[in-house]
Protein backbone atom coordinates (compact mmCIF):
# COMPACT_ATOMS: atom_id res chain seq x y z
CA UNK A 1 0.00 0.00 0.00
CA UNK A 2 1.29 3.47 -0.96
CA UNK A 3 2.54 5.81 1.74
CA UNK A 4 4.06 9.23 2.07
CA UNK A 5 7.28 9.28 4.09
CA UNK A 6 8.61 12.55 5.48
CA UNK A 7 12.36 12.31 6.05
CA UNK A 8 14.05 14.98 8.17
CA UNK A 9 17.49 15.73 6.69
CA UNK A 10 19.44 18.01 9.03
CA UNK A 11 16.14 19.41 10.20
CA UNK A 12 15.68 20.50 13.81
CA UNK A 13 11.90 20.41 14.19
CA UNK A 14 10.87 16.77 13.87
CA UNK A 15 7.94 17.37 16.25
CA UNK A 16 6.66 20.05 13.82
CA UNK A 17 6.61 17.42 11.08
CA UNK A 18 4.81 14.94 13.31
CA UNK A 19 2.06 17.48 13.98
CA UNK A 20 1.58 17.90 10.23
CA UNK A 21 1.08 14.21 9.46
CA UNK A 22 -2.75 14.12 9.80
CA UNK A 23 -3.07 17.22 7.58
CA UNK A 24 -0.82 15.84 4.84
CA UNK A 25 -2.53 12.49 5.05
CA UNK A 26 -5.94 14.17 4.72
CA UNK A 27 -4.87 16.14 1.62
CA UNK A 28 -3.61 13.08 -0.26
CA UNK A 29 -5.77 10.44 1.46
CA UNK A 30 -2.69 8.30 1.99
CA UNK A 31 -0.98 7.09 5.13
CA UNK A 32 1.76 9.53 6.06
CA UNK A 33 4.61 8.98 8.48
CA UNK A 34 7.91 10.45 9.59
CA UNK A 35 10.79 8.18 8.73
CA UNK A 36 14.29 8.85 10.02
CA UNK A 37 17.24 8.25 7.78
CA UNK A 38 20.79 9.44 8.19
CA UNK A 39 22.22 11.11 5.11
CA UNK A 40 25.37 13.20 4.96
CA UNK A 41 24.58 16.31 2.96
CA UNK A 42 28.12 17.73 3.08
CA UNK A 43 29.00 16.49 -0.45
CA UNK A 44 26.16 18.59 -1.86
CA UNK A 45 27.46 21.86 -0.43
CA UNK A 46 28.59 24.43 -2.99
CA UNK A 47 31.15 26.72 -1.30
CA UNK A 48 30.84 29.42 -3.96
CA UNK A 49 27.12 29.77 -3.35
CA UNK A 50 27.13 28.64 0.30
CA UNK A 51 24.08 26.55 -0.58
CA UNK A 52 23.21 22.88 -1.14
CA UNK A 53 22.40 21.44 -4.58
CA UNK A 54 18.79 20.20 -4.43
CA UNK A 55 18.96 18.20 -7.67
CA UNK A 56 21.89 16.16 -6.42
CA UNK A 57 20.24 15.53 -3.02
CA UNK A 58 17.09 14.30 -4.77
CA UNK A 59 19.16 11.88 -6.90
CA UNK A 60 20.75 10.56 -3.71
CA UNK A 61 17.28 10.05 -2.15
CA UNK A 62 15.84 8.01 -5.05
CA UNK A 63 17.11 4.62 -3.75
CA UNK A 64 15.29 5.27 -0.44
CA UNK A 65 11.87 5.01 -2.10
CA UNK A 66 9.87 1.81 -1.69
CA UNK A 67 7.69 0.94 -4.67
CA UNK A 68 4.52 3.04 -4.82
CA UNK A 69 5.63 5.41 -2.05
CA UNK A 70 6.44 9.09 -2.22
CA UNK A 71 9.15 10.53 -0.02
CA UNK A 72 9.79 14.12 0.90
CA UNK A 73 13.01 15.28 2.49
CA UNK A 74 12.78 18.29 4.79
CA UNK A 75 15.88 20.28 5.71
CA UNK A 76 16.91 23.51 7.38
CA UNK A 77 19.67 24.00 4.78
CA UNK A 78 19.50 26.61 2.03
CA UNK A 79 18.87 24.90 -1.33
CA UNK A 80 19.61 25.85 -4.93
CA UNK A 81 19.37 24.36 -8.36
CA UNK A 82 22.10 25.35 -10.83
CA UNK A 83 20.06 27.89 -12.69
CA UNK A 84 18.19 29.52 -9.81
CA UNK A 85 19.60 31.52 -6.92
CA UNK A 86 17.43 29.68 -4.37
CA UNK A 87 14.43 27.40 -4.10
CA UNK A 88 11.89 26.63 -1.37
CA UNK A 89 11.52 23.09 -2.63
CA UNK A 90 11.94 20.80 -5.60
CA UNK A 91 10.13 17.80 -7.04
CA UNK A 92 9.80 16.22 -10.45
CA UNK A 93 6.36 16.09 -12.03
CA UNK A 94 5.01 12.60 -11.35
CA UNK A 95 8.24 11.62 -9.61
CA UNK A 96 8.55 9.89 -6.27
CA UNK A 97 10.93 12.21 -4.42
CA UNK A 98 10.48 15.78 -3.21
CA UNK A 99 12.73 18.04 -1.20
CA UNK A 100 11.75 21.06 0.89
CA UNK A 101 13.86 23.63 2.72
CA UNK A 102 12.69 25.56 5.76
CA UNK A 103 15.69 27.90 5.54
CA UNK A 104 13.92 30.83 3.88
CA UNK A 105 10.59 30.27 5.62
CA UNK A 106 11.79 31.64 8.94
CA UNK A 107 10.50 35.14 9.69
CA UNK A 108 13.68 36.13 11.45
CA UNK A 109 15.54 35.92 8.10
CA UNK A 110 13.49 38.86 6.90
CA UNK A 111 14.18 41.06 9.90
CA UNK A 112 10.89 40.20 11.57
CA UNK A 113 10.02 38.72 14.95
CA UNK A 114 10.17 34.93 14.97
CA UNK A 115 6.83 33.24 14.46
CA UNK A 116 6.97 29.43 14.85
CA UNK A 117 3.28 29.05 13.93
CA UNK A 118 3.77 30.94 10.65
CA UNK A 119 6.91 28.90 9.94
CA UNK A 120 4.98 25.70 10.46
CA UNK A 121 2.18 26.89 8.13
CA UNK A 122 4.66 27.82 5.41
CA UNK A 123 6.48 24.53 5.72
CA UNK A 124 3.21 22.60 5.46
CA UNK A 125 2.29 24.52 2.28
CA UNK A 126 5.71 23.80 0.80
CA UNK A 127 5.50 20.10 1.56
CA UNK A 128 1.98 19.78 0.14
CA UNK A 129 2.96 21.84 -2.94
CA UNK A 130 6.01 19.72 -3.78
CA UNK A 131 4.12 16.49 -3.07
CA UNK A 132 1.40 17.84 -5.39
CA UNK A 133 4.02 17.95 -8.17
CA UNK A 134 5.13 14.44 -7.28
CA UNK A 135 1.48 13.39 -7.68
CA UNK A 136 1.44 14.99 -11.15
CA UNK A 137 -0.06 18.42 -10.46
CA UNK A 138 1.23 21.47 -12.34
CA UNK A 139 1.13 25.04 -11.04
CA UNK A 140 -2.34 26.46 -10.59
CA UNK A 141 -3.50 30.01 -11.28
CA UNK A 142 -6.40 30.07 -8.85
CA UNK A 143 -5.51 32.41 -6.00
CA UNK A 144 -5.49 30.56 -2.72
CA UNK A 145 -4.75 27.09 -4.12
CA UNK A 146 -1.68 25.48 -2.60
CA UNK A 147 -0.40 24.72 -6.14
CA UNK A 148 0.00 28.41 -6.97
CA UNK A 149 3.66 29.07 -7.77
CA UNK A 150 5.31 31.32 -5.17
CA UNK A 151 8.78 32.78 -5.10
CA UNK A 152 8.46 34.94 -1.97
CA UNK A 153 7.23 33.97 1.49
CA UNK A 154 4.77 36.89 1.38
CA UNK A 155 3.14 35.24 -1.63
CA UNK A 156 3.15 31.93 0.16
CA UNK A 157 1.25 33.54 3.04
CA UNK A 158 -1.48 34.53 0.57
CA UNK A 159 -2.29 30.98 -0.41
CA UNK A 160 -3.88 28.24 1.67
CA UNK A 161 -2.66 24.73 2.35
CA UNK A 162 -5.64 23.35 0.41
CA UNK A 163 -6.03 22.24 -3.19
CA UNK A 164 -8.61 24.04 -5.29
CA UNK A 165 -11.49 22.01 -6.73
CA UNK A 166 -9.78 21.54 -10.08
CA UNK A 167 -6.50 20.34 -8.52
CA UNK A 168 -8.46 18.02 -6.21
CA UNK A 169 -10.16 16.44 -9.22
CA UNK A 170 -6.83 16.01 -11.01
CA UNK A 171 -5.37 14.48 -7.87
CA UNK A 172 -8.03 11.76 -7.94
Amino acid sequence: MSRIKIIPLQFAGVEVLEQMLPLISARFKIETLVSTHRMDLTPFFNPVRSQYNANDIIQKMVPLVDEGDKIVGVTDLDLFIPVLSYIFGQAYLGGSVALVSGHRLVNARYGLADDPKLFSERLLKCIIHELGHAFGLKHCLLPGCVMVSTTYVEEMDQKSDQFCRSCKIQLK
Binding site: N55, F80, I81, V83, L84, L93, K138, H139, P143, S149
Partner: protein
Amino acid sequence: MDNNLSILIVDDELSVRDSLSNWFIEDGYSVDTAEDAKVALKKIEAFNFHIILVDIKLPGMDGLELNRRIKSINDEAVVIIMTAFASVDSAVQALKDGAYDYVCKPFDPDAITHIIRNASKTIHLSQENISLQDRIKSLVNVEDIIGESEGILKVLEQVRVVAGTDSTVIINGDSGTGKELIAKAIHMNSSRRFFPMVIVHCGAIAENLMESELFGHERGAFTGAQYARKGKFEMADGATLFLDEISTISMKMQIELLRVLEAKTFTRVGGNREFKSDFRVICATNRDLQAMVNAGEFREDLFYRLNVFSITIPPLRERTEDIKPLSEHFVKFYAEQMNKGTKHIGRRAAKALNNYDFPGNVRELENLIERAIVIGTGDTVQLKDLPLDHVAAKPTWESIQEMEYHHIQGILEKYDWNISRSAKALGVDRVTLYSKIKKYKIEKNK
Protein backbone atom coordinates in the same frame (compact mmCIF):
# COMPACT_ATOMS: atom_id res chain seq x y z
CA MET B 1 -2.32 25.26 -15.19
CA ASP B 2 -1.80 24.27 -18.80
CA ASN B 3 -0.80 26.82 -21.35
CA ASN B 4 -0.24 26.43 -25.05
CA LEU B 5 3.21 27.93 -25.14
CA SER B 6 6.35 26.00 -26.00
CA ILE B 7 9.84 26.73 -24.69
CA LEU B 8 13.21 25.62 -26.05
CA ILE B 9 16.18 25.73 -23.66
CA VAL B 10 19.60 25.92 -25.31
CA ASP B 11 22.45 25.38 -22.86
CA ASP B 12 25.50 23.11 -22.92
CA GLU B 13 25.15 22.28 -19.20
CA LEU B 14 22.86 19.31 -18.60
CA SER B 15 22.05 20.43 -15.05
CA VAL B 16 20.83 23.80 -16.32
CA ARG B 17 18.71 22.19 -19.03
CA ASP B 18 17.20 19.75 -16.53
CA SER B 19 16.55 22.36 -13.83
CA LEU B 20 14.91 24.81 -16.20
CA SER B 21 12.88 22.09 -17.94
CA ASN B 22 11.47 20.93 -14.64
CA TRP B 23 10.74 24.50 -13.56
CA PHE B 24 8.78 25.29 -16.73
CA ILE B 25 7.01 21.91 -16.95
CA GLU B 26 5.59 22.59 -13.47
CA ASP B 27 4.22 25.84 -14.91
CA GLY B 28 2.46 23.91 -17.66
CA TYR B 29 4.71 24.84 -20.59
CA SER B 30 5.71 22.33 -23.22
CA VAL B 31 9.52 22.18 -23.02
CA ASP B 32 12.32 20.90 -25.25
CA THR B 33 16.09 21.27 -24.87
CA ALA B 34 19.18 21.51 -27.05
CA GLU B 35 22.82 21.24 -25.98
CA ASP B 36 24.25 23.43 -28.75
CA ALA B 37 23.32 25.83 -31.54
CA LYS B 38 23.37 23.16 -34.25
CA VAL B 39 20.80 20.98 -32.49
CA ALA B 40 18.78 24.06 -31.55
CA LEU B 41 18.57 25.31 -35.15
CA LYS B 42 17.42 21.89 -36.36
CA LYS B 43 14.63 21.89 -33.76
CA ILE B 44 13.68 25.51 -34.50
CA GLU B 45 13.42 24.77 -38.23
CA ALA B 46 11.15 21.81 -37.48
CA PHE B 47 8.95 23.46 -34.85
CA ASN B 48 7.76 26.98 -34.05
CA PHE B 49 8.80 27.52 -30.42
CA HIS B 50 7.22 30.50 -28.73
CA ILE B 51 10.06 31.22 -26.27
CA ILE B 52 13.73 30.27 -26.68
CA LEU B 53 16.18 30.60 -23.80
CA VAL B 54 19.72 30.76 -25.17
CA ASP B 55 22.94 30.54 -23.17
CA ILE B 56 25.41 33.09 -24.49
CA LYS B 57 28.37 30.69 -24.16
CA LEU B 58 27.81 27.66 -26.32
CA PRO B 59 30.26 25.29 -27.98
CA GLY B 60 30.68 26.26 -31.64
CA MET B 61 28.25 29.03 -32.53
CA ASP B 62 27.68 31.39 -29.55
CA GLY B 63 24.31 32.54 -28.22
CA LEU B 64 24.43 35.95 -29.88
CA GLU B 65 24.93 34.44 -33.34
CA LEU B 66 22.28 31.81 -32.61
CA ASN B 67 19.86 34.63 -31.68
CA ARG B 68 20.45 36.26 -35.08
CA ARG B 69 19.88 32.94 -36.88
CA ILE B 70 16.69 32.29 -34.90
CA LYS B 71 15.34 35.69 -35.90
CA SER B 72 15.94 34.88 -39.57
CA ILE B 73 13.99 31.61 -39.22
CA ASN B 74 11.18 32.65 -36.87
CA ASP B 75 10.99 36.38 -36.29
CA GLU B 76 8.11 35.98 -33.84
CA ALA B 77 10.00 33.73 -31.40
CA VAL B 78 10.79 35.43 -28.09
CA VAL B 79 14.50 34.93 -27.42
CA ILE B 80 15.87 35.36 -23.89
CA ILE B 81 19.65 35.39 -23.55
CA MET B 82 21.21 33.75 -20.46
CA THR B 83 24.74 34.12 -19.26
CA ALA B 84 26.82 33.47 -16.21
CA PHE B 85 29.01 36.43 -17.08
CA ALA B 86 27.07 39.66 -17.13
CA SER B 87 28.40 42.07 -19.66
CA VAL B 88 26.73 45.29 -20.73
CA ASP B 89 28.15 45.05 -24.26
CA SER B 90 26.80 41.60 -24.99
CA ALA B 91 23.45 42.51 -23.41
CA VAL B 92 23.11 45.58 -25.62
CA GLN B 93 24.15 43.58 -28.69
CA ALA B 94 21.58 40.83 -27.93
CA LEU B 95 18.80 43.35 -27.51
CA LYS B 96 19.82 45.17 -30.70
CA ASP B 97 19.60 41.87 -32.54
CA GLY B 98 16.02 41.43 -31.40
CA ALA B 99 16.35 39.47 -28.14
CA TYR B 100 13.42 40.03 -25.78
CA ASP B 101 15.46 40.14 -22.56
CA TYR B 102 18.75 39.25 -20.97
CA VAL B 103 19.24 37.38 -17.66
CA CYS B 104 22.26 36.49 -15.56
CA LYS B 105 22.69 33.00 -14.13
CA PRO B 106 21.81 31.97 -11.52
CA PHE B 107 18.46 33.68 -11.83
CA ASP B 108 16.35 34.88 -8.98
CA PRO B 109 13.27 32.58 -9.23
CA ASP B 110 11.01 35.61 -9.13
CA ALA B 111 12.95 37.34 -11.93
CA ILE B 112 12.75 34.41 -14.36
CA THR B 113 9.10 33.83 -13.49
CA HIS B 114 8.33 37.46 -14.31
CA ILE B 115 10.32 37.47 -17.55
CA ILE B 116 8.57 34.33 -18.80
CA ARG B 117 5.15 35.59 -17.72
CA ASN B 118 5.75 38.91 -19.48
CA ALA B 119 6.96 37.10 -22.59
CA SER B 120 3.84 34.88 -22.46
CA LYS B 121 1.65 37.96 -22.17
CA THR B 122 3.38 39.55 -25.17
CA ILE B 123 2.86 36.39 -27.22
CA HIS B 124 -0.79 36.08 -26.18
CA LEU B 125 -1.40 39.75 -26.96
CA SER B 126 0.17 39.36 -30.36
CA GLN B 127 -1.97 36.25 -31.07
CA GLU B 128 -5.06 38.01 -29.76
CA ASN B 129 -4.30 41.04 -31.90
CA ILE B 130 -4.17 38.90 -35.06
CA SER B 131 -7.40 37.09 -34.19
CA LEU B 132 -9.14 40.36 -33.29
CA GLN B 133 -8.11 41.95 -36.55
CA ASP B 134 -9.57 38.93 -38.37
CA ARG B 135 -12.74 39.30 -36.35
CA ILE B 136 -12.94 43.01 -37.09
CA LYS B 137 -12.81 42.30 -40.81
CA SER B 138 -15.78 39.97 -40.47
CA LEU B 139 -17.76 42.18 -38.12
CA VAL B 140 -20.64 44.49 -38.67
CA ASN B 141 -20.49 46.51 -41.86
CA VAL B 142 -23.39 48.86 -42.32
CA GLU B 143 -23.96 47.15 -45.68
CA ASP B 144 -24.31 43.80 -43.88
CA ILE B 145 -27.32 44.87 -41.83
CA ILE B 146 -30.38 43.26 -43.39
CA GLY B 147 -33.33 45.42 -44.35
CA GLU B 148 -34.93 47.15 -47.32
CA SER B 149 -37.57 49.24 -45.60
CA GLU B 150 -37.46 52.99 -45.53
CA GLY B 151 -37.24 52.83 -41.73
CA ILE B 152 -34.09 50.70 -41.59
CA LEU B 153 -32.44 52.53 -44.50
CA LYS B 154 -32.90 55.77 -42.56
CA VAL B 155 -31.30 54.17 -39.49
CA LEU B 156 -28.33 52.99 -41.53
CA GLU B 157 -27.85 56.43 -43.00
CA GLN B 158 -27.82 57.87 -39.48
CA VAL B 159 -25.24 55.23 -38.47
CA ARG B 160 -23.00 56.32 -41.37
CA VAL B 161 -23.32 59.97 -40.38
CA VAL B 162 -22.67 59.54 -36.66
CA ALA B 163 -20.00 56.80 -36.86
CA GLY B 164 -17.31 59.21 -38.02
CA THR B 165 -17.90 61.55 -35.09
CA ASP B 166 -17.19 61.10 -31.39
CA SER B 167 -20.68 62.17 -30.35
CA THR B 168 -22.72 60.41 -27.70
CA VAL B 169 -25.61 58.46 -29.20
CA ILE B 170 -28.90 57.23 -27.79
CA ILE B 171 -30.46 54.32 -29.64
CA ASN B 172 -34.18 53.97 -29.03
CA GLY B 173 -36.18 50.94 -29.99
CA ASP B 174 -38.44 48.21 -28.70
CA SER B 175 -36.92 45.11 -27.21
CA GLY B 176 -35.44 42.86 -29.91
CA THR B 177 -35.13 45.50 -32.62
CA GLY B 178 -31.33 45.18 -32.73
CA LYS B 179 -30.10 48.16 -30.71
CA GLU B 180 -26.83 46.40 -29.81
CA LEU B 181 -26.23 45.54 -33.47
CA ILE B 182 -26.67 49.18 -34.45
CA ALA B 183 -24.31 50.22 -31.63
CA LYS B 184 -21.74 47.73 -32.95
CA ALA B 185 -22.19 49.09 -36.45
CA ILE B 186 -21.47 52.62 -35.18
CA HIS B 187 -18.44 51.39 -33.25
CA MET B 188 -17.08 49.27 -36.10
CA ASN B 189 -17.32 52.16 -38.51
CA SER B 190 -15.69 54.63 -36.15
CA SER B 191 -12.03 55.40 -35.58
CA ARG B 192 -12.29 53.43 -32.33
CA ARG B 193 -12.94 50.12 -34.11
CA PHE B 194 -9.52 48.68 -33.24
CA PHE B 195 -10.47 48.79 -29.58
CA PRO B 196 -13.29 46.72 -28.12
CA MET B 197 -16.84 47.87 -27.62
CA VAL B 198 -17.23 47.47 -23.86
CA ILE B 199 -20.82 46.49 -23.09
CA VAL B 200 -22.62 47.15 -19.81
CA HIS B 201 -26.08 45.62 -19.50
CA CYS B 202 -27.25 48.12 -16.88
CA GLY B 203 -30.49 46.26 -16.21
CA ALA B 204 -28.68 43.02 -15.41
CA ILE B 205 -26.38 44.45 -12.73
CA ALA B 206 -27.55 44.76 -9.14
CA GLU B 207 -27.62 48.34 -7.86
CA ASN B 208 -24.97 47.66 -5.19
CA LEU B 209 -22.55 46.19 -7.77
CA MET B 210 -23.00 48.85 -10.41
CA GLU B 211 -20.50 51.28 -8.92
CA SER B 212 -17.75 48.66 -8.78
CA GLU B 213 -18.69 47.41 -12.25
CA LEU B 214 -18.28 50.86 -13.81
CA PHE B 215 -15.54 52.38 -11.67
CA GLY B 216 -13.62 49.27 -10.60
CA HIS B 217 -12.32 48.93 -7.07
CA GLU B 218 -9.07 48.87 -5.20
CA ARG B 219 -7.96 45.90 -3.16
CA GLY B 220 -9.74 45.85 0.20
CA ALA B 221 -12.34 48.41 -0.91
CA PHE B 222 -15.03 46.24 0.68
CA THR B 223 -15.41 42.81 2.24
CA GLY B 224 -14.33 40.21 -0.28
CA ALA B 225 -12.48 42.66 -2.54
CA GLN B 226 -9.26 40.70 -2.22
CA TYR B 227 -7.75 42.01 -5.41
CA ALA B 228 -8.03 45.28 -7.28
CA ARG B 229 -10.33 45.21 -10.29
CA LYS B 230 -10.64 47.38 -13.37
CA GLY B 231 -14.03 48.88 -14.07
CA LYS B 232 -15.73 49.32 -17.43
CA PHE B 233 -14.72 53.00 -17.70
CA GLU B 234 -11.09 51.97 -17.44
CA MET B 235 -11.52 49.05 -19.85
CA ALA B 236 -13.11 51.35 -22.42
CA ASP B 237 -10.10 53.65 -22.71
CA GLY B 238 -9.75 54.43 -26.41
CA ALA B 239 -12.87 52.41 -27.12
CA THR B 240 -16.66 52.65 -27.08
CA LEU B 241 -18.73 52.15 -23.94
CA PHE B 242 -22.17 50.74 -24.72
CA LEU B 243 -24.65 51.26 -21.88
CA ASP B 244 -27.62 49.04 -22.62
CA GLU B 245 -30.91 49.72 -20.83
CA ILE B 246 -29.62 53.07 -19.56
CA SER B 247 -33.09 53.88 -18.20
CA THR B 248 -32.65 51.32 -15.42
CA ILE B 249 -29.76 53.03 -13.59
CA SER B 250 -30.47 54.65 -10.26
CA MET B 251 -30.53 58.41 -9.62
CA LYS B 252 -27.28 58.10 -7.66
CA MET B 253 -25.53 56.38 -10.56
CA GLN B 254 -26.96 58.95 -12.96
CA ILE B 255 -25.14 61.69 -11.02
CA GLU B 256 -21.89 59.68 -10.98
CA LEU B 257 -22.18 58.91 -14.69
CA LEU B 258 -22.78 62.54 -15.58
CA ARG B 259 -19.70 63.57 -13.62
CA VAL B 260 -17.49 61.01 -15.39
CA LEU B 261 -18.90 61.89 -18.81
CA GLU B 262 -18.05 65.51 -18.25
CA ALA B 263 -14.64 65.12 -16.62
CA LYS B 264 -13.55 61.83 -18.28
CA THR B 265 -11.72 61.11 -15.02
CA PHE B 266 -12.72 58.88 -12.11
CA THR B 267 -11.36 57.02 -9.12
CA ARG B 268 -11.83 53.36 -8.32
CA VAL B 269 -14.07 52.48 -5.38
CA GLY B 270 -11.95 52.57 -2.22
CA GLY B 271 -9.12 54.42 -3.95
CA ASN B 272 -7.99 57.99 -4.41
CA ARG B 273 -5.83 57.59 -7.52
CA GLU B 274 -7.42 59.46 -10.41
CA PHE B 275 -7.75 57.61 -13.73
CA LYS B 276 -8.28 59.20 -17.13
CA SER B 277 -10.19 57.35 -19.77
CA ASP B 278 -11.07 58.42 -23.28
CA PHE B 279 -14.24 56.63 -24.31
CA ARG B 280 -17.25 57.28 -26.47
CA VAL B 281 -20.67 56.51 -25.02
CA ILE B 282 -23.47 54.86 -26.93
CA CYS B 283 -26.53 54.00 -24.92
CA ALA B 284 -29.71 52.16 -25.68
CA THR B 285 -33.16 52.19 -24.19
CA ASN B 286 -36.58 50.79 -24.90
CA ARG B 287 -38.21 53.49 -22.80
CA ASP B 288 -38.97 57.09 -23.68
CA LEU B 289 -36.22 58.93 -21.80
CA GLN B 290 -37.81 62.33 -22.45
CA ALA B 291 -41.00 61.09 -20.78
CA MET B 292 -38.91 59.77 -17.89
CA VAL B 293 -37.29 63.20 -17.57
CA ASN B 294 -40.73 64.82 -17.53
CA ALA B 295 -41.84 62.36 -14.85
CA GLY B 296 -38.72 63.11 -12.78
CA GLU B 297 -37.37 59.56 -13.19
CA PHE B 298 -34.31 60.47 -15.25
CA ARG B 299 -31.99 63.43 -14.74
CA GLU B 300 -32.52 66.15 -17.29
CA ASP B 301 -28.82 67.18 -17.36
CA LEU B 302 -27.72 63.59 -18.04
CA PHE B 303 -30.40 63.19 -20.70
CA TYR B 304 -29.13 66.25 -22.59
CA ARG B 305 -25.53 65.10 -22.13
CA LEU B 306 -26.40 61.72 -23.70
CA ASN B 307 -28.93 62.84 -26.28
CA VAL B 308 -26.46 64.47 -28.68
CA PHE B 309 -27.57 62.19 -31.50
CA SER B 310 -30.59 59.97 -31.38
CA ILE B 311 -31.44 56.99 -33.55
CA THR B 312 -34.83 55.27 -33.38
CA ILE B 313 -35.15 51.76 -34.75
CA PRO B 314 -38.73 51.12 -35.90
CA PRO B 315 -40.38 47.91 -34.68
CA LEU B 316 -40.60 45.07 -37.18
CA ARG B 317 -44.39 45.40 -37.50
CA GLU B 318 -43.82 48.86 -38.98
CA ARG B 319 -41.39 47.59 -41.61
CA THR B 320 -42.95 44.36 -42.82
CA GLU B 321 -40.95 44.50 -46.06
CA ASP B 322 -37.90 43.56 -43.94
CA ILE B 323 -39.49 40.30 -42.77
CA LYS B 324 -38.74 38.44 -46.00
CA PRO B 325 -35.02 39.35 -46.34
CA LEU B 326 -34.49 38.87 -42.60
CA SER B 327 -36.21 35.45 -42.67
CA GLU B 328 -34.14 34.36 -45.67
CA HIS B 329 -30.97 35.54 -43.92
CA PHE B 330 -31.81 33.58 -40.76
CA VAL B 331 -32.74 30.46 -42.77
CA LYS B 332 -29.37 30.57 -44.52
CA PHE B 333 -27.50 31.28 -41.28
CA TYR B 334 -29.11 28.56 -39.14
CA ALA B 335 -29.20 25.96 -41.93
CA GLU B 336 -25.42 26.41 -42.25
CA GLN B 337 -24.93 26.34 -38.48
CA MET B 338 -26.98 23.16 -38.06
CA ASN B 339 -25.75 21.58 -41.25
CA LYS B 340 -29.27 21.28 -42.64
CA GLY B 341 -30.41 21.53 -46.22
CA THR B 342 -33.13 24.11 -45.60
CA LYS B 343 -33.08 26.74 -48.35
CA HIS B 344 -36.56 28.20 -48.80
CA ILE B 345 -39.58 29.44 -46.89
CA GLY B 346 -42.85 27.99 -48.09
CA ARG B 347 -45.53 30.35 -49.39
CA ARG B 348 -47.95 29.79 -46.50
CA ALA B 349 -45.17 30.04 -43.92
CA ALA B 350 -43.97 33.30 -45.51
CA LYS B 351 -47.48 34.65 -45.49
CA ALA B 352 -47.94 33.74 -41.82
CA LEU B 353 -44.70 35.48 -40.97
CA ASN B 354 -45.79 38.53 -42.91
CA ASN B 355 -49.15 38.65 -41.13
CA TYR B 356 -47.66 38.31 -37.67
CA ASP B 357 -47.04 41.51 -35.70
CA PHE B 358 -43.83 40.34 -33.93
CA PRO B 359 -44.07 41.86 -30.44
CA GLY B 360 -40.54 40.47 -29.85
CA ASN B 361 -39.29 42.06 -33.09
CA VAL B 362 -36.25 40.72 -34.99
CA ARG B 363 -35.15 38.60 -32.03
CA GLU B 364 -38.51 36.82 -32.10
CA LEU B 365 -38.30 36.30 -35.86
CA GLU B 366 -34.81 34.88 -35.46
CA ASN B 367 -35.97 32.49 -32.74
CA LEU B 368 -38.94 31.35 -34.84
CA ILE B 369 -36.70 30.57 -37.81
CA GLU B 370 -34.11 28.84 -35.65
CA ARG B 371 -36.84 26.65 -34.14
CA ALA B 372 -38.27 25.91 -37.59
CA ILE B 373 -34.85 24.79 -38.86
CA VAL B 374 -34.43 22.56 -35.80
CA ILE B 375 -37.75 20.77 -36.13
CA GLY B 376 -38.25 21.01 -39.91
CA THR B 377 -37.34 18.44 -42.54
CA GLY B 378 -36.72 18.90 -46.24
CA ASP B 379 -35.47 22.01 -47.98
CA THR B 380 -38.41 24.30 -47.16
CA VAL B 381 -39.68 25.87 -43.94
CA GLN B 382 -43.35 24.91 -43.79
CA LEU B 383 -46.13 26.58 -41.85
CA LYS B 384 -46.33 23.57 -39.55
CA ASP B 385 -42.72 24.27 -38.51
CA LEU B 386 -43.74 27.68 -37.18
CA PRO B 387 -45.91 28.19 -34.08
CA LEU B 388 -48.05 30.59 -36.13
CA ASP B 389 -51.06 28.47 -37.19
CA HIS B 390 -53.41 31.00 -35.64
CA VAL B 391 -51.89 33.76 -37.74
CA ALA B 392 -52.19 31.78 -40.96
CA ALA B 393 -55.77 30.90 -40.09
CA LYS B 394 -56.70 34.54 -39.78
CA PRO B 395 -58.49 35.29 -43.09
CA THR B 396 -57.26 38.38 -44.89
CA TRP B 397 -59.33 37.97 -48.06
CA GLU B 398 -62.72 39.47 -48.74
CA SER B 399 -64.34 37.84 -51.83
CA ILE B 400 -65.92 34.36 -51.85
CA GLN B 401 -63.67 33.39 -54.76
CA GLU B 402 -60.54 34.36 -52.84
CA MET B 403 -61.81 32.41 -49.86
CA GLU B 404 -62.47 29.36 -52.04
CA TYR B 405 -59.00 29.58 -53.61
CA HIS B 406 -57.23 29.71 -50.23
CA HIS B 407 -59.41 27.00 -48.71
CA ILE B 408 -58.78 24.55 -51.56
CA GLN B 409 -55.07 25.32 -51.49
CA GLY B 410 -54.96 24.70 -47.74
CA ILE B 411 -56.75 21.36 -48.01
CA LEU B 412 -54.49 20.22 -50.87
CA GLU B 413 -51.40 20.99 -48.82
CA LYS B 414 -52.89 19.34 -45.77
CA TYR B 415 -53.35 16.08 -47.72
CA ASP B 416 -50.04 16.42 -49.59
CA TRP B 417 -51.87 17.00 -52.88
CA ASN B 418 -53.63 13.65 -52.70
CA ILE B 419 -56.58 14.54 -54.96
CA SER B 420 -58.93 11.78 -53.79
CA ARG B 421 -58.50 12.58 -50.08
CA SER B 422 -58.64 16.33 -50.68
CA ALA B 423 -61.81 16.00 -52.76
CA LYS B 424 -63.40 13.86 -50.05
CA ALA B 425 -62.52 16.42 -47.40
CA LEU B 426 -63.93 19.23 -49.53
CA GLY B 427 -67.12 17.24 -50.20
CA VAL B 428 -66.75 17.37 -53.99
CA ASP B 429 -65.78 14.79 -56.60
CA ARG B 430 -62.29 14.58 -58.11
CA VAL B 431 -63.34 16.12 -61.45
CA THR B 432 -64.74 19.18 -59.69
CA LEU B 433 -61.54 19.56 -57.69
CA TYR B 434 -59.42 19.33 -60.87
CA SER B 435 -61.51 22.00 -62.53
CA LYS B 436 -61.19 24.28 -59.50
CA ILE B 437 -57.39 23.80 -59.46
CA LYS B 438 -57.32 24.71 -63.15
CA LYS B 439 -59.67 27.65 -62.65
CA TYR B 440 -57.71 29.16 -59.78
CA LYS B 441 -54.30 28.12 -61.19
CA ILE B 442 -53.40 26.53 -57.84
CA GLU B 443 -49.86 25.20 -57.79
CA LYS B 444 -48.05 22.88 -55.44
CA ASN B 445 -46.22 24.89 -52.78
CA LYS B 446 -42.44 24.82 -53.11
